[in-house]
């Protein structure tokens, strides 16, 4: 006779309310797992999906994603001349917040050399890659743009010729690919009034330094900041070349820093993602502990409510294993029910969640095993109390 199920049957409302509550808590644990993995996935997506053997950045910088890095626009030419380098292309990446599709959205613009350069979009879900030097864009579907739709950035409109799915920057924001000159123009474009004011201020400084107005006007173009800088140079090595030798050559002779794709990934994991991952890891551990404590308390309260029937069971001769089984089964039913609710909630929330959720089956299985073990542990306090209950408690009014 299954006493646990019969007790649950009698308290169905209470049981379902409990598993709904604990289930929601466990859903947060599972979502935290998903965010934790999603955070890592997003953080290294661009590195993993850019077919570069080396990332060359400004000397001493951990860029281009962890730290800003500015290099001359023609840096890729000297890198390309390095022995062992098959291909070197300029790369620019920066975050932007503009109105897209009627709403203000945050995204990252990536500029790359359209004709044979590295760093362009990977697999497209619709359309084609960039084929023109100007006014074309490839956007991620998360931005809500349609193929052939028009996207205004700065003073130009760009036609969306291709769509990616899941192309994200390290913060999880969608990516827009532009040609390098277009991306530089969007980044460095200044308001004409601001430009005139800056030129006037520079001319005044020159005149105060003793130059005539005519001389200052001649010198002004030399003082203007260059808009031809890039953030990194992506390198593809020639077959058979030694990575370390190429790296050393670039660092020694070109005075740039160079990282392999694995080093670039480690920079992200150890730098920008480390604290976030630690915080998420801590939160999910705490939530697991809190869930187990809640299940323990619920099982304990359920047992205390039944203490007189338990004493009666002992008095009429029920062996201990009958009582232990009843408590354990209730605890496991609570844990299993709660986990099922949590799993269902997580599946429902996955596609609507604003950040990438990566749900690894093995991680779900581990969480399930931890909760199951926790559920069993949680029932120990109740079992201990039940086994200590004297049968004589059943006697008397």
């Amino acid at each position: 006779m299954d006493l646990a199920l019969r007790d649950i049957r009698r308290h169905l409302g209470k049981f379902f309310a409990t598993i709904a509550g604990v289930g929601m808590l466990l859903a947060i644990v599972l979502v935290m797992n998903g965010i934790y993995r999603g955070n890592i996935f997003d953080g290294i997506w661009l590195i993993e999906n850019t077919a570069a053997d080396l990332w060359v950045v400004e000397l001493g910088r951990g860029g281009p994603f962890n730290e800003s890095s500015r290099m001359p626009g023609d840096a890729h030419k000297s890198v390309a001349a390095t022995p062992g380098v098959a291909r070197a292309s300029p790369f620019i990446s920066y975050a932007a917040q503009r109105e897209v599709g009627g709403t203000s959205q945050q995204f990252t613009i990536i500029g790359y050399e359209v004709f044979g350069g590295l760093g362009g979009p990977g697999r497209l879900v619709a359309g084609r890659r960039l084929e023109a030097a100007h006014w074309e864009a490839v956007a991620d579907t998360r931005l809500g743009l349609d193929l052939n739709s028009s996207l205004r950035l700065g003073s130009h409109a760009y036609t969306v010729v291709g769509l990616t799915r899941g192309a994200v920057d390290p913060a999880g924001n969608p990516v827009i690919y532009l040609s390098l000159p277009d991306a530089q123009e969007v980044l460095y474009q200044q308001d004409s009034h601001a430009l005139v004011a800056a030129r006037a201020a520079s001319a005044k400084r020159l005149e105060r330094a003793g130059y005539s107005s005519a001389e200052a006007a001649k010198l002004l173009p030399l003082l203007a900041g260059s808009s031809a800088t890039v953030n990194a140079v992506l390198v593809q090595l020639a077959p058979g070349s030694e990575t370390d030798a190429v790296k050393t050559h670039i660092e020694r002779w070109l005075h740039f820093s160079a990282y392999t794709a694995a080093e670039e990934r480690d920079l992200m994991l150890e730098g920008r993602l480390k604290k976030m991952s630690a915080v998420l890891g801590l939160f999910r551990s705490l939530l697991v502990v809190v869930s187990i404590v809640i299940i323990a308390l619920i099982v304990y309260v359920l047992t205390i409510e039944k203490i007189r029937p338990i004493a009666t069971l002992k008095l009429i001769g029920a062996p201990n294993h009958v009582i232990v089984r009843m408590i354990l089964e209730q605890s496991l039913a609570l844990t299993l029910g709660s986990f099922a609710v949590a799993y269902a909630l997580m599946i429902l929330a996955r596609d609507r969640f604003p950040r990438t959720l990566i749900l690894l089956p093995e991680e779900i299985a581990i969480t399930f095993a931890v909760m199951l073990a926790g559920g069993v542990l949680a029932s120990f306090m109740a079992i201990w109390h039940a086994l200590r209950t004297p049968p004589s408690l059943a006697l008397g009014g």
Binding site: M1, L3, R6, D7, R9, R10, H11, R308, P309, T312, L313, K314, L315, I316, G317, A318, P319, V322, P390, P391, S392, A394, L395, G396, G397
Partner: protein, 215 residues
């Protein structure tokens, strides 16, 4: 200091015995000893010629002894609240290793014998006090124990209902050949017992004259 001294109680099969005495006199202790919940420091408990308790017996043995030899009727009925009337009666049988079908058959038979067959699938909370009492009696009889303990079986009942319960206990004692030992303070029912034992300061004495005991 002994809770029980010179407490010799002998009840025959089919006999209805009352155990009376003031609070703290040792009635409950005697009941706990006979049930092997408290073990006596000396003396013997003999059921149908066999000694129930010996040194070295474990808690597991004590529970098996209770399952096989004693039926309990509690003052508050103590039905398991999440089991139906029939399941409550099945429970001691299932604990004793009786099969599901056989236990259900016997439970139905007992419910019929106690005239509550129509309440078989009802939870205790929805049974009346009298129905609960009958189901509790059915549970006590489930394993056909040689001894049935009844703790204040008529205390909360009016005279008419109390008489009915006494009639039921009498039927149980005679039909089932069980020795029924009832702890009671209910002087209205005392004449319904075959024998009355008075417990005082741990000493037990059989009363030959029933009248005037409660004066």
């Amino acid at each position: 200091m002994h809770a029980l001294r010179e407490a010799t109680l002998s009840v025959e099969a089919g006999e209805l015995a009352a155990l009376i005495g003031p609070s703290g006199s040792g009635k409950s202790t005697l009941l706990l000893c006979i049930s092997l919940i408290e073990l006596p420091s000396s003396g013997a408990i003999v059921i149908r010629g066999h000694q129930a308790w010996r040194d070295g017996r474990s808690e597991v043995d004590a529970r098996r002894f209770r399952r096989e030899n004693i039926g309990f009727i509690f003052q508050g009925h103590n039905l398991i609240p999440f089991l139906t009337a029939q399941e409550n009666i099945c429970l001691p049988m299932r604990l004793n290793g009786v099969g599901k079908q056989a236990a259900a058959r016997r439970a139905r038979e007992l419910l019929g014998y106690l005239e509550v067959a129509n309440r078989a699938d009802v939870l205790p909370a929805t049974l009346s006090g009298g129905e609960r009492q009958r189901v509790a009696i059915g549970r006590a009889l489930a394993n056909e124990p040689p001894i049935v303990f009844a703790d204040e079986p008529t205390a909360a009942l009016d005279t008419e209902r109390g008489m009915k319960v006494m009639g039921l206990l009498r039927r149980v004692a005679q039909d089932r050949r069980s020795a029924v030992i009832a702890v009671t303070h209910d002087h209205r029912m005392i004449e319904g017992f075959d024998s009355v034992y008075l417990m005082n300061d741990g000493r037990l004495a059989r009363q030959s004259a029933l009248t005037g005991i409660f004066r």
